[in-house]
């Protein structure tokens, strides 16, 4: 009798574990575009180019007008990737360093002021290949152009 009760308890436990496991499997979301690994350079550049000609607006971070970091932040956000708001914090906090010789499409590239009294990061754009980048200067455009 005791053996039968123990057997039922074990069986009940196993059944509960199976039900919990099955539920977890069923409710797990399908992972589509869930990580940065799911964005191609093609997708990013295609989005960036949609905004060529958009006017520069200080503090702007929407298709109505962009500043430089607002532009990069917006473009990456369309791919589900969150960047910091300013050029200097994007440089400090986002991604990892790559050398100039190793640049590839989609990399953020940063520029400083020419004023030697303030040599920090002041501008940012997106590398689009063959020494070109797209950025919001006086408007969104490709450089060199």
């Amino acid at each position: 009798m005791e053996t039968m009760k123990r057997f039922k308890r074990v069986l009940s436990c196993m059944l509960s574990l199976f039900l919990v496991y099955s539920t977890l499997i069923l409710i797990r979301p399908i992972e589509v575009n869930a990580s940065v690994n799911d964005t191609s350079g093609y997708e990013l550049i295609t989005e960036a180019k949609k905004h060529l000609g958009t006017q520069y607006v200080y503090g702007g971070q929407s298709p109505g007008g962009f500043d430089c970091s607002g532009f990069t932040m917006y473009v990456f956000s369309t791919q589900g990737i969150a960047l910091n708001r300013t050029a200097s914090t994007q440089y400090s906090n986002n991604g990892y360093n790559v050398s100039r010789n190793d640049l590839t499409i989609g990399d953020l590239i940063f520029f400083s002021r020419t004023d030697s009294n303030d040599p920090g990061v002041s501008h940012v754009g997106i590398y689009i290949g063959y020494n070109h980048f797209i950025h919001s200067g006086n408007m969104v455009y490709r450089s060199p152009h």
Binding site: S40, E43, K49, N94, G95, R100, T104, I105, L108
Partner: protein, 192 residues
């Protein structure tokens, strides 16, 4: 080059996207091949590196153009029925995206001269390579060494079969692959 940006103002760079993905994308585009392959672009654009790359990203992908020896979207859809059935036989952007995100690492047949799985299994020195490593090897070494990237094309056999080509291209193994893709197949030349 704009010196005010690339010269004294350049500060540094950060990578946000996956290196693996963008590496595949870079390996898929061969500037020399794209220029060689499309006579209309030679006329319209000329040998302008960025303009050719930009053409590929802006229009070429959507038009189903072939950016390199390793990826032909038309062939990819033809050879991979599961992809074709899901995305449609002429959805070239989907072919590109599928190859980038899945096809490379699955070693799928992606052009008449490149099949990742075949390539790494054919050569013992490549047996343990991942799909990306195999692609990288073929693009940077294999095509120049005259290695065989698929069961239907061997550049060295192609070279020995056609004296008109060997007299033109000599030991430039890459050009036999280029020629086969642009002319040889449609001329009915045998690739192996």
């Amino acid at each position: 080059m704009n010196q005010s940006y690339w010269g004294d103002r350049y500060y540094g760079a950060k990578r946000i996207l996956s290196s693996a993905i963008t590496s595949i994308e870079i390996l898929m585009f061969d500037l020399d091949y794209y220029y060689y392959r499309y006579d209309d672009l030679k006329t319209a654009i000329g040998p302008n590196d960025y303009a050719l790359f930009d053409h590929w990203l802006t229009l070429g992908i959507k038009e189903g153009r072939t950016p390199s020896a390793v990826f032909d979207p038309v062939y990819y859809m033809s050879a991979n029925a599961d992809v074709r059935n899901i995305y449609g036989s002429k959805n070239w952007v989907a072919a590109y995206q599928h190859f980038v995100f899945s096809g490379v690492n699955e070693g799928r047949a992606s052009s008449p001269v490149y099949n990742g799985l075949y390539y790494k299994n054919y050569y013992t020195d490549l047996n343990k390579f991942t799909g990306l490593q195999a692609l990288n090897h073929y693009v940077k070494s294999g095509i120049y060494e005259g290695r065989r990237g698929s069961s239907t094309f061997d550049p060295l056999i192609y070279k020995s079969n056609y004296s008109d080509l060997s007299s033109t291209y000599g030991n430039d193994n890459k050009m036999y692959t280029y020629h086969y893709l642009k002319h040889g197949r449609s001329e009915g030349r045998i690739g192996i």
